[in-house]
Each structure stands twice: as structure tokens, then as C-alpha cells.
């Protein structure tokens, strides 16, 4: 990921993808997406592809689990933490 790309930009793009795919409005960046059954596995797959294509971050699928997609903030962490 480019150093110029900040956390807020990453967050906005990820949030837009999830809200667009699931046709929902996420009110809080800490909202529990997994525990509330909001996010589905197809959207997770799209996010993994998107993070790779958009931010150049290739996530290690064997190291991931559902909790990594627990909230907007944890998903953003997948991108920023691997930068």
C-alpha cells in the first residue's frame, strides 16, 4: 500500500464496498459485522480481492479467520497493519 494512502481513505473505500454489496448502511465502524450475521462469505471474498487489487496487499488466507472481518475497523487493520 502506498504510504500516502491514509487510514480514512482505506476505511471509506472498504465501507463503500460492503454497503454497496449488502445494500445496508453501517452506522458505526466498530459495528459487529460477523456476530450479527451482517457480512457473508461472498462479501469477504470480494474484500480479499479488493484489498489485493486496490491496495496491493495480498492477505495470507491461511492466517485469516472470520474475526478479521468483524468490523470496518478490523478490516481496515488488515490493510494498514500489513503496510
Amino acid at each position: 500500500m502506498s504510504a500516502a494512502l491514509d487510514r480514512e481513505q482505506v476505511k471509506a473505500k472498504i465501507k463503500a464496498l460492503i454497503e454497496g454489496e449488502l445494500k445496508i448502511k453501517i452506522e458505526s465502524d466498530d459495528y459487529d459485522l460477523v456476530g450479527t450475521d451482517t457480512i457473508d462469505s461472498y462479501t469477504m471474498m470480494l474484500l480479499i480481492l479488493f484489498i489485493n487489487n486496490e491496495f496491493g496487499v495480498k492477505l495470507d488466507m491461511e492466517q485469516l479467520d472470520f474475526d478479521a472481518f468483524g468490523s470496518i475497523n478490523t478490516i481496515v487493520g488488515l490493510v494498514t497493519d500489513s503496510n
Binding site: 454489496e21 450475521d37 457473508d40 462469505s41 461472498y42 469477504m44 471474498m45 480479499i48 480481492l49 489485493n52 495480498k58 495470507d60 488466507m61 491461511e62 485469516l64 479467520d65 472470520f66
Partner: protein
């Protein structure tokens, strides 16, 4: 898991589709599957397919075991049409070939949405039922269909929508989580393409110029109730890749039954069916 990132390269995933040659082909001929959920929806869709008077050559893409032509045989008799069914899964195609070996009106060939074995502008009508979700690149499929369809031709396709079985599959994933790794679950989630009506329309418009063709994409939603056995009959046929990855299959089926029991609502286990119909017609 590099294959996850390599899959959407515009080519059909032949490994996935050809799995049906080994495990799922005969299930599509099972009468219970023909009369339940996707079978029912397909029959309803095919009953409403309309042919122009000048229609002589019909192409069924992803024809499977020949289900589409089975249902449209009377129309072929009335209109003296010829049909070509194309399918990448050899096991399915072999069933169709055997079924129609004495009927010269129908031909069968290996092919897919991205690789149609037809000349440019040679097809009067394209039909397809519950196959378009197997493509990896919808725009590529639209371009290839536009290549073979005559300018005054038409197309009618039934495909699964983005949110087909959204709630039903949540129960399935809960059972999967007890038996499969995250990577395995995500890989199976990505086997089929899932698009909204808007995304589908946009992709079709890449192949079919809206100056020359009318494009209509509509969503049909329904709740279909069934018992565990009825749902498993179709689900197993369509989920061979998931089942292959599970080590303890008996335990998995028990967990699946438990999870689906939780969504039982008095009428049965509900499946939230969401399908797209795509209708494209030349303006000429």
C-alpha cells in the same frame, strides 16, 4: 491460496464445472430436483420464453443435461426450429447426447459463455438457465454472446442473483465453520459469480450496445419451503466442491441438519430464492 486471485481471469473455471461430470450430473435428471426450487423456477422461466416467427436456430448455453430443450420440445415441433446445446461439463453433455441421439433437430457440443462454437451473427435466440453464474467475467460472456447473436435476435437468461439463498446459506456457513478452514469456506464462496440487477445490466451493456439492443434485467424473489431431505437433494448436487473438502461427511450432514432446523419456521425450512431474468432483444 494464490488461485483465489487468479480465478477471475475471464476464463471459465473448468475444474469447478467439470466436477459435475463426476458427481452431480445425474442429480440434475432426478425428478425431485426437477420439481423443487431451481427445477421449478427453471420450468416457470422456460414456459415464458417467447420465439419470433423467424426464429430457426436456438442456442442453449450451459445446457447441462438438456433440461431446456426437454421443456421447449413442443415449441421446436411447432416452429420447425433447430437447437444447439453447449456445455463445458462432459458428464452432463453425455447425458444430453444420449437422451437426444435419435432426434436430429438437436446438436450438442462442448462450449461455454466465453467460448461459443458458433459463427458470428448466426444465432436467432440464446437461452440459458442457471448457468451464467459460473462465468468468471460477465462482460467477457456478454461480448461473446453479442458476437454470435443476430442483430434482430433475442436472448433470455435465468441466473441466480447476488442475494440468492442469503439467509439459508448463513445456516450452511455455520455448519461449514465446524468442518472447514476459513480459506476453504472463502474459496467455495467465490466459485459462483453473484451480481445485482444493476451490475448485471451494466455488464450486458458492455457486449450489447443499447443503441441496437433493448436490455431488461429483472429480479424475481420468492420463499421456497422444504424439508431437510428436499433441500439436501438440490444442495448436494450444487455443492460438490464443499462436500469434497469435508473430512467427516456424516458429522457435517448432522451439523447441517441442526443448523437448518434452527431456521425452520413452521412451514418448513425456508430458502430465500432470488433470481435474475435477463432479456435482450435486437431493435432491428
Amino acid at each position: 491460496m494464490s488461485e483465489l486471485f487468479d480465478k477471475r481471469d475471464g476464463q471459465v473455471d473448468k475444474d469447478t464445472v467439470s466436477t459435475y461430470s463426476k458427481f452431480g450430473a445425474s442429480a440434475y435428471e432426478d425428478q425431485r430436483n426437477r420439481e423443487f426450487l431451481y427445477g421449478n423456477k427453471t420450468v416457470e422461466f422456460l414456459k415464458n420464453v417467447r420465439f419470433d416467427n423467424n426464429c430457426k436456430f436456438v442456442l442453449d448455453i450451459g445446457c447441462g443435461t438438456g433440461f431446456g430443450f426437454d421443456e421447449l420440445k413442443d415449441e421446436f415441433d411447432r416452429r420447425d426450429m433447430k437447437g444447439l446445446g453447449i456445455e463445458p461439463a462432459r458428464g452432463m453433455l453425455d447425458i444430453a447426447i444420449e437422451k437426444y441421439k435419435d432426434d436430429p433437430r438437436f446438436e450438442w457440443n462442448t462450449g461455454s459463455f466465453e467460448d461459443i462454437p458458433c459463427e458470428d451473427k448466426s444465432v436467432d435466440k440464446i437461452i440459458s438457465t442457471l448457468a451464467l453464474h459460473w462465468v468468471k467475467d460477465l462482460e467477457c460472456a456478454a461480448k461473446e454472446m453479442a458476437r454470435v447473436l443476430k442483430e434482430d435476435g433475442s436472448l433470455e437468461i435465468l441466473m441466480i442473483a447476488r442475494d440468492d439463498g442469503h439467509y439459508f446459506k448463513k445456516a450452511i456457513v455455520k455448519a461449514q465453520r465446524k468442518h472447514l478452514t476459513f480459506a476453504q469456506i472463502i474459496k467455495t464462496a467465490g466459485l459462483a459469480l453473484r451480481v445485482s440487477p444493476e451490475q448485471c445490466h451494466a455488464a450486458m451493456a458492455v457486449g450489447f450496445s443499447e443503441d441496437k439492443f433493448d436490455i431488461r434485467v429483472e429480479k424475481i424473489s420468492d420463499i421456497v419451503y422444504g424439508d431437510f431431505e428436499a433441500h439436501m437433494k438440490w444442495w448436494k448436487a450444487r455443492s460438490t466442491q464443499i462436500i469434497c473438502d469435508v473430512k467427516d461427511k456424516d458429522r457435517f450432514m448432522k451439523d447441517l441438519q441442526e443448523e437448518l432446523k434452527k431456521i425452520w419456521d413452521g412451514q418448513g425450512i425456508p430458502f430465500d430464492s432470488n433470481l435474475l431474468t435477463i432479456r435482450i432483444k435486437g431493435k432491428k
